[in-house]
Symmetry: D3
Subunit: 253 residues, 6 copies
C-alpha cells in the first residue's frame, strides 16, 4: 500500500502545512495541492462539495505530492466509508466531544475486527494499491476535531482513544460554543486557554494537533507554538483576499 | 434591458478592475466576482471551462455587481452566440489581427441587420430583461484582443471597425508572436513598444484598452499608464500564489 | 446582511407566491424564479437534486428577486447546515410532528448559543454580506412542515416553538397519513379539516402558513382562504402539464 | 436497428408534435418527452446545453416513446457526428441557405460512401442495435432549417438535395433576416409569404416541413395549415409561461 | 404501472443475472445494462456515485430492458425515498442484521399505511406510469443484505418480515464479520456455511436469494447452487480485469 | 518539465499498450489507466466526452503511471489547445490525409515560433512543471491518424512533416473510405495492404505507428507485426464484452 506520507511526517515530528478545500472543482484542488502543501482536506462539512465532486477532487489531489484527506459532515458511517472508498487517506470528523464520539468515529474508519467499515475499497485500491484492504487500518488517519466546551473538557480521554491519529482545532466553532465571538485569531482568554489545553493534551498523548488559521502569518505563529499541522486559510478565503488585494491596489492607483 | 454598467464606466473614462476566471466552478466565480471587481471574464480559451460550466459561472457572476463577460476560443460563431445566449454581456475574442477579423467577430455578436447573430436569447432574457433582443446590439460589448504582430500593425484599422467596443492586450501571446519571451511584465522593448502602440491606438480611436497583468502591483502600474481595464492575474494564478505564500510562511517559521 | 424580503413580506401580512424546484438545473431554477415569485424552494426531499446541484440552483435564484430557500430531506443537521452555508435564506423541513422535532430542527438552523449550527458560512457571506454570521439567526427562516396526524394534533405546540418562522402544509403526505388518498385538492373532510386546523393554528400563533397547490386556480383559492404563502404546483408539474396541453391542442387540430 | 418511428410517421403523412429542449437536464428532458410528443430535439444551438449534458438528455428521451433528435450549432462535422454517436436519430441544422450547405450537412450525417461520417458508433449501437452502422444512413434524419432570405430563395433546390429528410422553419431568424421583427406568429406579409413558400416547396418535393410555434394554439393552427411537425414552444418558454400564470392567478386572488 | 419484470422472473423461479454499477456515468450504466442483464443495481454504498449521478444512471438503465435498482448506504429514509423517487424499482439495503432492521428498511420503501415513504413520486411517475403511487408498494422490491454474523443468525426471522422481497449476500463483508478474510469465493468453512444457511433460509421462506460473485465462472457456479440472482462482478472489476488482460496479452507477445 | 515517458518508450523502440477512453468518467479513466497501460487517450471524437469531463479524466490519468493523451475531433485549433492546456501530453488528430493537414495539426500543438499554439498553459504547468512553456514543444506529441485512401497515398509525405511524432491507424474509417466493410480485424486485402503501407512508412521515416485492435489477441498480433503502440479495444468495448461474458456464463449454467 502506498504509504501515508503525511501521517509519517507527523509521526516524525515535522511541522506540516495543510490545505483546506471548499471550492467544488478538481482543478482548484490540483492548483492548491500543487503548491507544496503536505496534505489537502476536501471539506464536505462547510465546503460546497457533494460526494460526486469530492471524488474528482481526491483524484486531483492524488496527482500531486499532497496526501488526500476529507472532512465529513459528522459521525456519518455511510459518508465516512464513501470518502475512504474514494481514496481519502484520512477523515477529519467535526464535533468530537466525548471519548464515545471518538470511538464511534474511529470504528467507522476501520475494517473489522477493529471497526465496522464495510468492504468495497473501490478507488482505495487504485490509489493505495492491491494490498489496500489488509493495510488500510494502519495507514488511514482518523482525525478528531475538538471544537466544543465538552470536547475541551474531555480532550485527554479523546486523545487516549485507540485509533485517534490526530486532533484538529476548529477555532471558530470552539469560540461560539465557549460563548465567545468567532473572530480570526481570537485573543479572548477563554478561547486562547482552550486552544492551549488541546495542544498540550495532544503533546501529552503523543499525537499531533492541527489548527485552522486565518492567514499565512497566523499559521506561522501556530507552527511556532508547536502545532504540527497548520492550515493558512481555506481556498475560498485565500482566493477572496487575493482578489480583494488586486482590486484595492488598482483603486488606489 | 439591464444596462451594461461596465461598458458605461469605461465610456465615462473610469479605471476599472476586471477578474479573469479559469476555474470551472460557479462558486469560485462568485467568490471572485464578489470582491468589488467591475467585470468578470469567463475564459473559454485557456480556462478549464466548457459550455455547460460557463452557464453556471455566468449565473454566479450575475448574482454579484460585476458585469459578466466571456472569452471565446476564437472567431467561432456558434460558441460566441451561445455565450451571449447564456447571458454574457460581452465577448472577448482572441487573436484579432486584421480589420476583417474584427468585422467578422463583431458580426457574430450582433443581431441582423447589423450582424448575423441568430435569434434565441434564452438566458439573455432572464438577465437582460424582456426588451433584450431589441437592445442587445447596443449593450453587448465586442472586445478585440490584440496579441500578434499583425494585430499591432493593424491596430488603428481594427479600432476603427464599427462595433469594436474595446481592445484587450494579451501580453504573453504578443511576446511570443514578436519573438520575445512570455515573461510577466516583459521589459523587452519590442513588447513594451507594441503595448504602447495599442494603448495609443485605443486612445486615438476613443475606445478603452484593457490588459492582463501578473500581480496587483503590475495592474496598478498599468492603471497609472492609462489602461482603463486592468486584470490583476487570473483566479488560478491568485489562488496558486496565495497558497504558496501560506506554505512559505510556515516553512520559514 | 441582505434582508430576507420574503420573511418581511410574510411578517407584513402580504400574500406571497412561492416556487418549488425539483428539476436539477440552475437554468430551470432561474427561469422559474424570474417570473415574479416571492420565494423559490430548492427541494432536496423529493426533487431530483443533490448538494452539488443545489448550490448552482441557489446561485441562480440569487440572481433574481426571489428569496432562495431549500427543503431538506429531514431533520438532518449536516444537510441543513450545508444548505444554509450554500446561501439558502430558509429551510423547509418535512415531517415535523412534535414540538421536540420542531426544536431540534430550529436548533440546526441557528448559531450558538441559540442553536447548534456549525461555523463555516461559505456562500452565506457572499449572498448575505460580511455581517452574515452575527445576523443570520434573525434572518434565516425555519419552516416546519405539518403533514402527519401527529403534526396536526400538536400543531399549536409546534407553532409555539421559539424560532419556528412558518408552517407549511404538504397535503399529499397529510392525506396519506390520515388514511385518505393523496389526490389533488382533496375534498375528504378529514383532510379538509386538518388543513383548516393548521391554518388556524398559524393564525393564532401569529406565524404565516404556506401550502402546496396543484394548479394556479387552486393556489388562488388557498390565497383567498388566508394562506400567506401559496405554491401553484412545482416546476415538474408545470412543465409536464404545459407540454401535455401543447400535445393535446395539436392532436385535436 | 430500432426503426426511426418519427421518420416513419412523417413519411406516412401523420401530423406530429415535437418538443424542443433547452434546459440542460435529463430529468426535464424526460418530463417533456413523456407527455406524448413524437420527437424531442436537444438544442445545442440556443439551448443551454453542452455535449456532456446532451448525452444525458438523449438517454433520457430514449427511455420514452419520443424519438431523440438534436440541433447542432451549425454545419460542424465534429459536433454533428458526436450527436449521432450519442444516439440522436436525426440532426436539425440551422441556417441552410444553399443546396451546397444542404449537401455538406447531409454528408456529415452519413457514413461513406454516401457521406463522410466517421466510424465510432458508441451509444448509437446501444440505442439502435448491433446493425446500426449498416443501416444508420437510412434511418437517421437530416433536417435542414430554412431561416434566411437566401434559404427561401433556394428552398426548392435545397429540398431536392439527396438525403434532406425534412425542412424546418425558424420563424424568428427568418423574420430578422427578412428585415422584419422577430415577433411570435408574425403577420408581416413578408414573413407569412416566406413561410408559405417553404411549406409549399416541401409539399412539392414530397418531404415534410416542420415549424416552431409560440403557443399550443399557434401550433395547432400550423398543423391545420399542413405542417406535419409542429413544436408548441420550447421547454423554457412553457415553464416560464406556466409559472407566470400561477403568479398572476394568485396576485389576482 | 410498468410491471417489475425482474421481480416477476424471480417469483417465477427463473435464474437471473444482475449487474452492479459503481462507475458514476450514465453511459457506462447503459453499456452494462444493454448486455442482457435482468437487473442493474446503482450502488450508492461503495460505488463512486452521488444522488445527482444516480438519477442519470437510473434513466440510462431505463432505456434498456434491465430493471433499475439501487443500493442505499444504509437504512437511511431520506436516501431510500430519493432513490425510489428517482425511478429505482427496488432498493438493496446493506447490513440488515435483525428483523427490526428489516422492518425499518421495508417501511422506508412503502407508502402508508404499510410504511412511511413520503409522497412525491417525481420520476417514479415517468418510468412507472400515472398509477405509480397506488401500485408502487406491490411492485417495488425491498432487498435485505445479509452480511453479518448476526444477520446469519437471524436470517429466518429476517426472511419472514412482511415486505422483504429478496435476500442478498455480500460475501466480503460477511467474511470480515465472521473473522475470516475477504477473498474472492472464499473456501473458509465458516463463510461457506453461512452462505449456505442464508440460501436455505430464503428457499424455506419462499423468497429469492442473490449473491455477488467475483467472476463469470463463479457466478455460474452460484446459479447452479440455486441462487436465483447472481452478479458476475461489478463494472469496475470487469473493466479493470478486461484491461489487464489486454495489457498482459501484448506484454507476452 | 515532467518527461513524456510514453514518447521516450516509443523512441527507444519499446512495444507499448495504450488505452482508449470513451466513458465520460474520471473514475473509469483511472481504473483503466491503473492496469499497466503506457498511455491513455481521452477520446473527444467518438468518446462521449466534452471538455468539462475531459479535464477530470486527464487529471485521473495523471494520478497513474500512464501518459495522458487526447484525441481531438479534428484539426480544431481551439479544441487542441484546450486539451493541451488541460494537461494532455499529446494529441491524436483524426483524418490527416495530406502533408498540409499534418502541418496544420502540428502547428496547433506547438508554441511560436514553431507553431501557433496560444499562451495559457493552465493545468499544463501543474502536471508538467514550471518550465512547461519552454519545453512543451519538445515533449508534447502530435499523432496523425491515417484513415483515408488519400492518407495512405500520402503517408510518406505526412510522416516526413516536421513535428509528426507518430502515426496512428483507425482501421474502421480506413476500411470505409477504401470501400470495404468496417469489420474487426478485416482480412480484405485492400485494407490489409493499406495498413501494411502505413506501418512500413512509419518504419522508413523512423516514427512509431500505432493501431486500434478489437481484442487483446488482435492487439498482441499487431505487436508481433511491429506496431509499437497497440490498443486492445476501448473501455466501452471491453466493458460491454466482459459483461456479456458474465451473462452468457450464467445463462449457460
Amino acid at each position: 500500500m502506498r504509504p501515508n506520507t503525511f501521517k509519517r511526517k507527523l509521526a516524525a515530528g515535522e511541522t506540516t502545512v495543510g490545505a483546506w478545500l471548499s471550492i467544488p472543482s478538481g482543478y482548484a484542488a490540483e492548483i492548491v495541492a500543487s503548491q507544496g502543501v503536505d496534505a489537502a482536506v476536501v471539506d464536505l462539512q462547510h465546503g460546497m462539495i457533494g460526494l460526486d465532486t469530492a471524488l474528482a477532487m481526491l483524484q486531483a489531489v492524488s496527482a500531486t505530492n499532497a496526501t488526500p484527506l476529507a472532512r465529513s459532515g459528522g459521525i456519518d458511517d455511510a459518508q465516512i466509508m464513501r470518502l475512504l472508498d474514494s481514496g481519502a487517506y484520512g477523515v477529519v470528523c467535526p464535533m468530537i466531544s466525548t471519548p464515545q464520539d471518538a470511538a464511534e468515529f474511529v470504528a467507522a474508519c476501520r475494517y473489522p475486527p477493529v471497526g465496522r467499515r464495510s468492504y468495497g475499497p473501490a478507488r482505495g485500491l487504485l490509489y493505495g494499491g492491491p494490498d489496500y484492504v489488509s493495510r488500510a487500518n494502519g495507514e488511514i488517519m482518523a482525525v478528531a476535531m475538538i471544537e466544543t466546551r465538552a470536547g475541551v473538557d474531555n480532550v485527554q480521554q479523546i486523545a487516549a482513544v485507540e485509533g485517534v491519529d490526530a486532533l484538529f482545532i476548529g477555532p471558530n466553532d470552539l469560540a461560539l460554543d465557549l460563548g465567545s465571538e468567532p473572530v480570526p485569531e481570537s485573543r479572548d482568554p477563554v478561547v486562547v486557554d482552550a486552544i492551549r489545553r488541546i495542544r498540550e493534551a495532544g503533546a501529552e498523548a503523543g499525537i499531533p494537533v492541527g489548527i485552522f488559521a486565518s492567514t499565512p502569518e497566523a499559521a506561522a505563529a501556530r507552527a511556532r507554538e508547536g502545532f504540527l499541522w497548520v492550515v493558512p486559510d481555506n481556498d475560498a478565503g485565500l482566493l477572496a483576499k487575493a482578489t480583494a488585494r488586486g482590486v484595492a491596489a488598482v483603486r488606489e492607483a
